[in-house]
C-alpha cells in the first residue's frame, strides 16, 4: 500500500533539514503512514514541537502547526487540546526537549492522561546544538560536553511515563519502521496520553564522536540495547539490566482521559450553577434596568478617564 506522503507534507519546504543517515525522517515517515491508515483529515490535526532537530517536524507536516520554545511543546499542546477536545493533537520532539528540559510537562501530561500523542525521537544527544550529552546519553558515551564519556546515569523514559500514569506507552526503533508504524498508530488511536519513545540514530552528533559515524553501525549499536517485550518476558532481571524493552509496554483502557474528565466536571457544574448564582447576587434585574445611572457609576469611578463602556465612555 503506497502512501502518498506529499499529501501530508509541505512540499515547498523540501529538502528536509536533517543530515543523511538521521533517523528523524524515518520516524516522520512511519507517523505519516499511521495517520494515512487512520484516514484522519489534515484539517483536524494540530502538531506542536519545541526546539531541536526532531522538533523541526512541525515545519514539514501540513497540519495546524506550532514551532514553539525548547521544552514546552507538551504544555502548549495541553492548552490546545483543552480548548478543542474534538481535534487530534500531537507533539514531536527530542530527548533533550521533551525529557530533559521539558520533563516536568511530560510527567504531568502522563498523569493527566490528556489525549495527546507524543512521539519522542530519542537519539541520546542534543543533536541540534552540536552533540552535548543529554539525560538519555548512555553512561560512558562521549559528547562535546563529555569528552571522557558521560558520568551520569541515563533514564528509561517509558518506565517513568508508566510510573507517572500515562495511558499508552510504547518503545520503537527507527531501525524497525514496520513495527514502529504500528506502535505509533496504536498510540494515535488510544484515547488518552500516549508516548512513543523511539530510539533513533544521530550519526553526526552522537555517532561520529563514538566511532559510530556510519549510520548502519550506529543502528546496530542502538539495537544492542534493545530487547523485544516478548523476549524480555523470558529474561531475568539481571539480564535485563541496561536494556530497553520495545513494543507496547503499557496500555490502560480504564483510566479516564482528561478532557472527558473535565466534561463531567462541566456537567456537574452546569447542573447546579451554585457559584454563578451566588456571584450574580448584585445583578440588576430587568425591572431595575435604570438602576445603575451614570451618576451612580461615576460615584464608583470618579476619574477623568475613558471606560470601555459603550454608553458612557467617560463617566
Amino acid at each position: 500500500m503506497a502512501v502518498d506522503y506529499t499529501k501530508y507534507l509541505r512540499m515547498d519546504k523540501m529538502p528536509l533539514y536533517w543530515c543523511p543517515g538521521c533517523g528523524d525522517g524515518i520516524v516522520l515517515k512511519c507517523y505519516l503512514e499511521a495517520i494515512d491508515e487512520l484516514g484522519w483529515s489534515k484539517d483536524d490535526c494540530a502538531m506542536v514541537s519545541g526546539i531541536g532537530c526532531a522538533a523541526r517536524v512541525t515545519g514539514y507536516v501540513d497540519f495546524h502547526t506550532l514551532h514553539t520554545i525548547h521544552g514546552r511543546a507538551i504544555a502548549v499542546a495541553v492548552g490546545i487540546k483543552m480548548s478543542h477536545p474534538d481535534k487530534h493533537v500531537f507533539v514531536f520532539g527530542g530527548d533533550g526537549d521533551l525529557v530533559h528540559i521539558g520533563g516536568n510537562h511530560l510527567l504531568h501530561a502522563c498523569r493527566r492522561n490528556v489525549d495527546v500523542t507524543v512521539v519522542l525521537i530519542n537519539n541520546w544527544i542534543y543533536g541540534m546544538t552540536g552533540g552535548q550529552h543529554s539525560c538519555t546519553t548512555p553512561p560512558g558515551a562521549k559528547a562535546t560536553t563529555a569528552p571522557r564519556g558521560s558520568f551520569e546515569p541515563t533514564i528509561d523514559v517509558c518506565k517513568m511515563a508508566i510510573g507517572a500514569g500515562a495511558g499508552y506507552v510504547a518503545r520503537g526503533f527507527a531501525g524497525d519502521p514496520t513495527r514502529l508504524k504500528k506502535l505509533i498508530k496504536e498510540g494515535l488511536e488510544y484515547k488518552g496520553f500516549s508516548l512513543i519513545d523511539v530510539f533513533s540514530p544521530c550519526p553526526i552528533n552522537f555517532g561520529r564522536r563514538n566511532k559510530l559515524g556510519d549510520p548502519a553501525k550506529l543502528l546496530e549499536h542502538m539495537k544492542s540495547f534493545l530487547v523485544s517485550s516478548a523476549k524480555a518476558k523470558r529474561m531475568s532481571e539481571e539480564e535485563l539490566k541496561g536494556k530497553f524493552i520495545t513494543g507496547v509496554l503499557h496500555k490502560d483502557t480504564e483510566k479516564p482521559e482528561l478532557t472527558e474528565a473535565y466534561k463531567s466536571i462541566v456537567e456537574k457544574a452546569q447542573a447546579s450553577d451554585e457559584y454563578w448564582a451566588k456571584y450574580v447576587k448584585g445583578t440588576l434585574s430587568e425591572s431595575d434596568k435604570n438602576k445603575i445611572t451614570r451618576e451612580e457609576l461615576k460615584k464608583l469611578y470618579p476619574y477623568d478617564v475613558e471606560t470601555p463602556l459603550k454608553q458612557w465612555k467617560k463617566l
Binding site: I69, R72, V76, I80, I292, D304, T307
Partner: protein
C-alpha cells in the same frame, strides 16, 4: 445586565476577564494572586470553559499560548517569582504575535521577597523581562473598579494588536474590597481578533500588507480550517523561519511599530489637578490613590500640585510627560520600588526639570502623608511612614 458587587481587584480581574470573553485559563497558585484562579475555577466550568492548574508557571503560560494560537482568548495570572518563570514564553507570545493577557499581582521582591506584601517592583520586568527587542503593552489599574475596566481593555488591546498585554496590580489591591460595577458583555466594547478575508489557501499569518495581520482561528465557526505555521524563530510572511537580514529587520520593526504608531489608542492616563500645577506627581496603581489624598491636602494649603497618572505603563506616554516637563517646575515619582519608573520619567524629561522620587520598597503602601511631606520638601528623603504601634505588629525584624 451588569452587576454591583463588593470585591477586591483579584476577583474583579477574574470577573472582568469573563466579560471580555475569556475562553481558556491556565495558572499556578502564588500569593497574592491565587484568588483569581480560585474564583475562575468556580465559574468557568459552569460556563463550559476550560480551566487548568498546570505544573508550574511555565506550563501555564505555554498552555495559554497554545489556546490563544488556536483561536481562544486566554489569560494567566501570577506574581513575582511566577512572572519570572513566564518570561521566555511571554517572548514567544510576542514573536508569534498571539493575543494573551498576563496578570502580575506584584509582591515584594527580589526572589521570594515579601509574598503577602504589595510592591510595584515588576515595572521594568514587564518591559524587558523577556529577552530580545520585543514590544509590550502593560497597564496598571489603581483600584478594583478600574481593574474591571483595564482587564477588559487588556483583552481588547491584546486582540486588536495581536500582542501579549501585562496587567499589573499589587498585593494591596488583592485585599481591598470596594463596591464595583461589573458590566454585562453587551454594555462594553469587546474586540475580537481580526479574521482573514481570504481563503485558507491564500492566507499568510504575517501578511506584509498589514501592520497587524489577521490571525486566523484554526477552526472557524463556519467550518473552515486555516492550517498554517507559527514559529518562535524569526519568520517571513508565511510564518516559516528565515535568516534573511531584511526580513528580520522588517519583522522587528513592524512588531514595534504596530504598538508605537498606535499610542493614541493604547495610551491611557489621567491628569489630576494639573491645570496650574508647578509640581507634578507621577504615580500609578494603588500609589496613585495615596497621591490623590496628598494632593488634595496640599491644595487646601494653596500648593500648586497635581498628578499625572499613567494607566498604560508601557509603551510610555512620552509626549505627555515631555509636555508636562515644559510646564512644571519639578516631578515627584511615587512608586513602591527603588525608582524604576522614575528612571523612565528621567529619560523622557531629559533634564528639563528635576525628578524626585518617593521610592519605597518596604512591602507597605506609600502613605498620603509621605507624599505630602515630599511635596513640601522634595529634596528631603521620606522615611517609611509607620507608627511605633504599627511597627510592633510586624514583629521580629530578623
Amino acid at each position: 445586565m451588569g452587576r454591583i458587587a463588593f470585591l477586591n481587584a483579584n476577583a474583579a480581574v477574574a470577573e472582568a476577564a469573563l466579560v471580555a470573553g475569556l475562553g481558556f485559563y491556565a495558572g499556578y497558585p502564588i500569593t497574592p494572586s491565587s484568588e483569581v484562579p480560585e474564583r475562575l475555577s468556580k465559574i468557568m466550568p459552569e460556563k463550559g470553559l476550560p480551566f487548568m492548574m498546570m505544573e508550574d508557571e511555565i506550563a501555564s503560560i505555554n498552555a495559554c499560548v497554545g489556546a490563544s494560537a488556536s483561536g481562544v482568548k486566554a489569560m494567566t495570572c501570577t506574581s513575582g517569582p511566577g512572572f519570572s518563570l513566564k518570561q521566555e514564553a511571554l517572548g514567544m507570545a510576542c514573536m508569534f504575535e498571539v493575543p494573551l493577557v498576563v496578570v502580575d499581582v506584584m509582591r515584594g521582591g527580589p526572589s521570594t521577597g515579601l509574598p503577602t506584601r504589595p510592591s510595584q517592583q515588576d515595572i521594568m520586568q514587564a518591559r524587558w523581562g523577556t529577552h530580545g527587542d520585543h514590544p509590550i503593552i502593560a497597564v496598571a489599574p489603581c483600584n478594583a473598579q478600574e481593574a474591571v475596566f483595564e482587564t477588559i481593555r487588556a483583552f481588547n488591546l491584546a486582540e486588536k494588536f495581536r500582542q501579549p498585554v501585562v496587567l499589573l496590580t499589587d498585593g494591596s489591591l488583592s485585599h481591598l474590597h470596594t463596591k464595583i460595577y461589573i458590566p454585562d458583555p453587551d454594555e462594553v466594547e469587546i474586540v475580537d481578533r481580526a479574521q482573514p478575508e481570504v481563503d485558507p489557501e491564500n492566507y499568510y499569518p504575517y501578511d506584509y500588507n498589514y501592520e497587524v495581520p489577521p490571525l486566523a482561528k484554526w477552526w472557524t465557526e463556519d467550518g473552515k480550517s486555516y492550517r498554517y505555521h507559527l514559529s518562535s524563530l524569526i519568520h517571513d510572511k508565511t510564518g516559516f523561519p528565515t535568516v534573511y537580514p531584511k526580513y528580520a529587520q522588517w519583522l522587528l520593526e513592524r512588531m514595534h511599530n504596530k504598538i508605537l504608531n498606535h499610542r493614541d489608542e493604547i495610551l491611557k492616563y489621567e491628569y489630576y489637578k494639573m491645570d496650574d500645577a508647578e509640581t507634578c506627581i507621577v504615580a500609578f496603581g494603588s500609589t496613585a490613590e495615596a497621591a490623590r489624598v496628598a494632593i488634595d491636602q496640599a491644595r487646601e494649603e494653596g500648593i500648586k500640585v497635581g498628578m499625572f497618572r499613567p494607566l498604560t505603563i508601557w509603551p510610555s506616554p512620552e509626549e505627555q510627560i515631555r509636555d508636562i516637563a515644559s510646564k512644571v517646575k519639578q516631578f515627584i515619582v511615587a512608586e513602591m520600588n527603588l525608582g524604576q519608573y522614575k528612571l523612565e520619567v528621567e529619560r523622557i524629561v531629559g533634564g528639563r526639570a528635576p525628578v524626585y522620587g518617593v521610592s519605597q520598597a518596604a512591602g507597605v503602601l506609600i502613605r498620603p502623608s509621605q507624599i505630602y511631606d515630599k511635596i513640601k520638601d522634595p529634596s528631603k528623603r521620606v522615611e517609611i511612614g509607620l507608627t511605633e504601634e504599627e511597627l510592633k505588629r510586624f514583629g521580629g525584624g530578623e
